[in-house]
Assembly symmetry: C2
């Protein structure tokens, strides 16, 4: 279907609307688009720390609140911010209307606190736009088949924006945040980190899943699936931000686009696993049944019929994983289970590496030259990850950022 | 239709849920009803001063916010409190579910910030009750024909409770507040003021419209129209409260049930009005066109073809009324217009006075003996009001409370 090129979807995060002055600032930005004749659908998060405050209040009343009522409570944050931003636009003489997730036609499944969008009916949004109004949508929320209020989980407002951009066939989807865009690596670690002008969905997905935190993977997956181009930019200045879109030939000429560091994983080693078919399957089946994702799996060369098996899990899942393995060790013969939380994962990401041999060698060489020991290695089509000692994490990022010349301009 | 005698509707005001401890307290009270096997629909107001805080925030962003967006903003207060109270019940092991006004099937007109309920479809509420749940309803709110969130204006949560009690045919409707019930007069003025055990709709309506502030007149009007019996009582103790219902023969044997004082009116006197037919009509037509209610009207005896005309309006409407009269004086020949804000209205209320002559005489006599001058008099079937000097207000209430022996027990 043809896109409405004149229609822009924007999303403003909580930090962009954390106080009265910032709300007015966002209203002025929206006005500048309106003055250029653009139609706008604006998705807004809850004011500043509202969501955290509501969660804290709920836990004072009930340490284990029901997901359904948590959603009903949390959704008030975005409902309030959408009406306030609309009032700020009215004060500038801009015709605007605030809509809840339900009024915006965002229908989800029943999985409260982490609902999935199953359908969007943008009838009302399009009606309001035809009447010349800027539509302000409460992000992060939808309506279940039971007509209950649901929320979309972490990064939910980004998902609202991307999904609406697809549903209304917007020409552009802008995600406003408090940083200038996607960087070659975390600027707090490497001062010469450079903002990336254009990145593919796949690269962005790898970077998000490997530790970059600007956007959640699910919003990018949605954008990729439905070819929604996204621009990530700052609401505090007018810099152009980062465009996330389909692959472009020779895009900025770079092989490696970014370096990520993830300190949130732990390594588990199971010793003395009998080297017979189905052992690894049995182990990982039990772990995955508990909803725990396992990554970077390494099995040592078998010696005398037994082997060691290492893998990583999120630190948050470590305790539960160890319990599962403990239960399992009684059923099948495995040896000691060792846990190591003092690891980091450093990764390089870039679609270009598919066609450029030697990238892995350059990575390993750069780390070796700086005496950074590699414990485990994991690769995907467009990324290479090394598990290293946690203490070497920041240094590894700096070394790789330099080795792949990511500070160089013009990329 | 037959009532569900086992079904109780309760309403808890903002002061009853102003902090975590009070919310838990309300949950315990609900549990005590549940333990007795009662079914419950509980209407809840926003936490403490939430509504005022939201209004203040809105005005910082836009001094004249649109009514539609104000409703969307304010409705978050009750949505939040209903989910929090539900969580508190869950913590006590009580099965409960929170519903917004829309989910509760409360349909209103489009008059944002002061919408009227046009229909209630209690389908969902009854379904949840059949499933053994306590239903917690966000008060004060409904859904317009445009599927927008509306609010019901001052006292809106009381109205939600009374209207739901009718719609679900509840056996009882309890309005919980921070006072013990309806008093013979304001206990802050007269220490011996006594709680009334049983009062008729008509008496309660007169008392509400004459200045008593425990319940708004519109909720009582609704209750009267649909014969919903109401108990007003405190959420902070277990005293039985005041029953508001149809007239009962020889109810508590009292002639005068209560004394009210209203300091919110001003008196306007128009001098030198030509004493010819239609003059008063012309004047009051103009004033009422502006939505201003006029009360206590007194016209002096005509002298030489001109007369003086006095009446009262709410102090809030004084400025606008004076402007209307100023405009009018140019069109029709009237003299000076005088305004007097230093007046009070003291009233006695009681259905018994219909059949007891001499009540008015006793009132005027008691005031005269205490040197309180009566400026204007107004009567209804079950009330007598005197306009007096504002400085005499509290004394008049004390004098009348004593003269009609309202401190006497057993009434």
């Amino acid at each position: 279907m043809k896109k409405r090129e004149n229609l822009v979807v924007q999303k403003y995060g909580g930090s962009s609307v954390s106080n009265v002055e910032r709300i007015k600032n966002v209203a002025r930005r929206i006005k500048s688009y309106r003055d250029k004749g653009k139609d706008l659908v604006v998705v807004v998060s809850a004011l500043g720390d509202t969501t955290d405050e509501l969660v804290e209040l709920a836990h004072k009343i009930n340490p284990e609140p029901t997901a359904r009522e948590m959603d009903m409570l949390m959704a008030t944050g975005e409902q309030a911010s959408s009406s306030l931003l609309t009032m700020a636009l009215h004060a500038l003489g801009i015709d605007a209307v605030a809509l809840t997730g339900a009024q915006s036609g965002i229908y989800t499944d029943k999985l409260h606190t982490k609902a999935k969008i199953v359908d969007i009916d943008p009838k009302r949004i399009l009606k309001e736009i035809r009447q010349g109004k800027v539509v302000i949508v409460a992000g992060f929320q939808g309506l279940s088949p039971d007509e209950d209020i649901t929320t979309l989980g972490r990064g939910g407002s980004d998902l609202t924006a991307v999904a609406l951009a697809y549903a209304v066939r917007a020409g552009l989807c802008e995600i406003y945040t408090d940083v200038d865009g996607i960087f070659t690596t975390d600027p707090r670690i490497v001062k010469s980190a450079r903002k990336i002008n254009h990145i593919t969905y796949d690269e962005m997905l790898e970077m998000a899943s490997l530790g970059a935190q600007v956007m959640q993977a699910r919003s990018i997956e949605f954008a990729k699936k439905f070819s929604v181009s996204i621009v990530v930019r700052s609401s505090l200045n007018n810099r152009p931000g980062t465009l996330i879109s389909e692959e472009v030939k020779d895009m900025e000429g770079a092989v490696v686009r970014g370096i990520t560091l993830n300190n949130k994983e732990a390594k588990i080693t199971i010793c003395d696993v009998p080297d017979k078919p189905g052992m690894a399957a049995k182990i990982f089946k039990e772990v995955s049944k508990a909803g725990i994702s396992v990554d970077v799996i390494v099995q040592n060369v078998s010696s005398q019929g037994i082997t060691d098996l290492s893998f990583t899990v999120a630190k948050d899942d470590l305790k539960q994983t160890l319990k599962i393995l403990d239960d399992l060790s009684r059923k099948i013969g495995i040896g000691n289970v060792l846990a190591d939380e003092k690891i980091s994962r450093v990764s390089i990401v870039g679609v270009g590496m598919k066609n450029h041999p030697g990238v892995a060698a350059l990575m390993f060489d750069a780390l070796a030259k700086n005496k950074i020991n590699i414990d485990m290695i994991s690769t995907s089509e467009i990324s290479i990850s090394c598990i290293i000692r946690a203490k070497d994490g920041n240094k590894a990022v700096e070394v790789l950022h330099k080795a792949f010349k990511l500070s160089k301009k013009g990329r």
